[in-house]
């Protein structure tokens, strides 16, 4: 059984505009998203800001409700669960947020922060066993037991993210949802946290939904990657397949924009232009205004179709796209 399955999820935010006489303005943020997180796999959600990747992870965590579609966690559809049943299920999925400076309560010490989930779910017999669990947890993320009595402000960014990871692991979850867990960290510390996440995934046989805007980081950690754009999945493939055979023009453009730390090679590379052309806002394909390959085939909304084994891509122009121009990394 797959830990998480998402089927045809839509999400629309509505808001009333001032003096609009009851008319509502609708903003679609997720459109027909279907994904599957396999056991002990890492699924990467990659896209620019505003593409809906965080909204999707919030829906899975039950922090937002999908407008339609199914979210199935551990075989159960979450919209049909009662509150107590969802609370039980929620134990299985824990989350790590982007900014370790704002995601830890400054007035709680580390022991309280990591122990809070244990308290909520009542997962220990007595104070001694609670203490024991906490010590195990801090050790597993590379901190030491004496850190338990300290407060978040005494720690650096990387150490804080370790605390956040320990808190997420406290309930022994099956699924970790990591929303940009390293993008607020320094480069030298980022590598430590990425190694830690990989180690935890292997040791605990976890599945992970890894939300990121950084392809290099995604390649290091992910088994499958879904590329999102304006609330839709544009390309969905096993990670290595995606990097050796990117199909969608958007994926190519994203690859070309990633800076390469080598002055000789970087100066030779050319970034694919992603400047939006005006007047194409209502095009059926959301990427069309920025796409270099728009042609007559693009007059209908592109559907996610299998283009190679296990490799899905939503681009109507794909058969007409010049293969030579593809930008593999």
């Amino acid at each position: 059984m797959n830990p998480i399955e998402i089927k045809n999820v839509y999400k629309t935010y509505t808001r009333k505009r001032f003096l609009s006489f009851g008319k509502r303005e609708e903003t679609p943020v997720l459109q027909d998203v279907s994904l599957c997180l396999k056991e002990n796999h890492v699924l990467g959600l990659v896209g620019e800001s505003g593409c809906g990747k965080t909204t999707l992870s919030k829906i899975i965590l039950g922090l937002e409700k999908a407008s339609s579609g199914q979210v199935i966690v551990d075989g159960k559809e979450i919209s049909k669960l009662t509150k107590p049943a969802f609370k039980k299920l929620r134990r299985l999925m824990q989350v790590i947020f982007q900014d370790p400076y704002s995601s830890l309560d400054p007035r709680m010490n580390v022991g309280q922060i990591i122990g809070e989930p244990l308290d909520i779910h009542g997962l220990y017999k007595d104070k001694l066993s609670r203490r024991k669990i906490l010590e195990e947890l801090v050790k597993s993320v590379g901190l030491s037991p004496e850190h338990l009595t300290r407060y978040p402000h005494e720690f650096s960014g990387g150490q804080r993210q370790r605390i956040a990871i320990a808190r997420a692991l406290a309930l022994d979850p099956k699924v970790l949802i990591a929303d940009e867990p390293v993008s607020a960290l320094d480069v030298s510390v980022q590598a430590q946290i990425l190694n830690l996440l990989k180690e935890i995934k292997q040791k605990r046989r976890l599945s992970m939904l890894f939300v990121s805007h950084d392809f290099a980081v995604a390649r290091f950690l992910c088994d499958e990657i879904a590329v999102m754009y304006k609330g839709r999945i544009m390309e969905y493939a096993p990670a290595e397949e995606l990097f050796s055979n990117p199909q969608h023009p958007y994926t190519e453009a994203l690859f070309s924009a990633v800076p390469v730390p080598d002055p000789v090679r970087q100066k030779k590379r050319e970034a694919v232009s992603l400047t939006a052309r005006p007047g194409m806002e209502n095009h059926p394909c959301p990427f069309a205004p920025r796409c270099a390959y728009v042609c007559e085939a693009c007059h209908t909304a592109p559907l996610l179709a299998q283009v190679r084994p296990g490799h899905f891509c939503a681009c109507a122009a794909l058969p007409f796209k010049n293969k030579k121009s593809s930008f593999a990394v």
Binding site: E48, S49, S156, G157, G158, Q159, D186, V187, S188, V189, Q190, A191, Q192, L194, N195, K198, H213, D214, F215, A216, V217, R219, F220, A239, E240, F243, A253, L254, F255, S256, A257, V258, P259, V260, P261, D262, P263, V264, Q266, K267, A271, L274, T275, P278, V329
Partner: protein, 325 residues
Amino acid sequence: MNSSSALLDVQNLRVSFSTEEGTVQVLKGLSYSLPKGKVLAVVGESGSGKTVHALSLLRLLPPTADIEEGHVLFEGKDLVSLPERQLRKLRGARISMIFQDPMSSLNPVLTVGEQLKETILAHRKISKLRAKAAAIRLLKKVGISDAARRYDQYPFQFSGGMCQRVMIAMALALKPQVLIADEPTTALDVTIQAQILRLIKNLQQQTGMSAVFITHNLALVADVADEVLVLYGGLCMEKASVQAIFKNPLHPYTQGLLNSLVSINKKEDLLPAIAGNPPVPGKECPGCPFAPRCQRAEKRCFQTRPPLFGKREHQAACWLLEEKA
């Protein structure tokens, strides 16, 4: 580099902050010179003093900070001791700055055009009409389509990348000789980041100005910089041309930084991370600030601070290089 070709010459800059726990030195004697028409990248992690260094060049530091020592020479004038009124004439006009977060650097209650015009009128004695025309030209130059209409819009109607373009337009409005860009792309998406970097680089080459590009991301440096200065714990660790930094990094910290970059070109099993955490300002070790995290650190690394070793073109502050020098 001899000082005659240098546009900006920073000599032994020391900056400290007074805090509840006493004075904390954030910059501990930084020296470099910025040649004409070149881009110098200052690379450092949070707390390394890179932003403090940028702010101290134009004396924009908060009141708790104090430039203890050092000189910033620009066209024969020392910006550290220059009277405020004269310095104000230089700020924005001869030396301008772009900040990290474009959304919060613009005034939300003034239109974008108004803010651009204001910059121009503060330094030039021209009519408002001509200033407006100049502002629209600038918006076009930084790649904003439909500039005349955009002129009357407010910052919230612009995306992050567009706001940064406006900031760049503002910084370039008076054709400065030096542009200081403090993490100009950190708040932006990768695709937008690539566009903004290209824009800065193109404008820099067109106008022949010099730039100090401050970043925490070594990968970006490869694209824009001619020379690189690696900052750690308020000290210069290594100084070299961009090719030399990537091909032959001398300092263990630079080597570690380069190794810990995640590559998009291959899948790795484990990243060679630098162990430990960046130093907290004021609590560094008396020797080399990197010593506690350095695998090759010896006893003297913890006790005495290493000077810069090596030739002028490529210098690094590490005791390991002493024998070679």
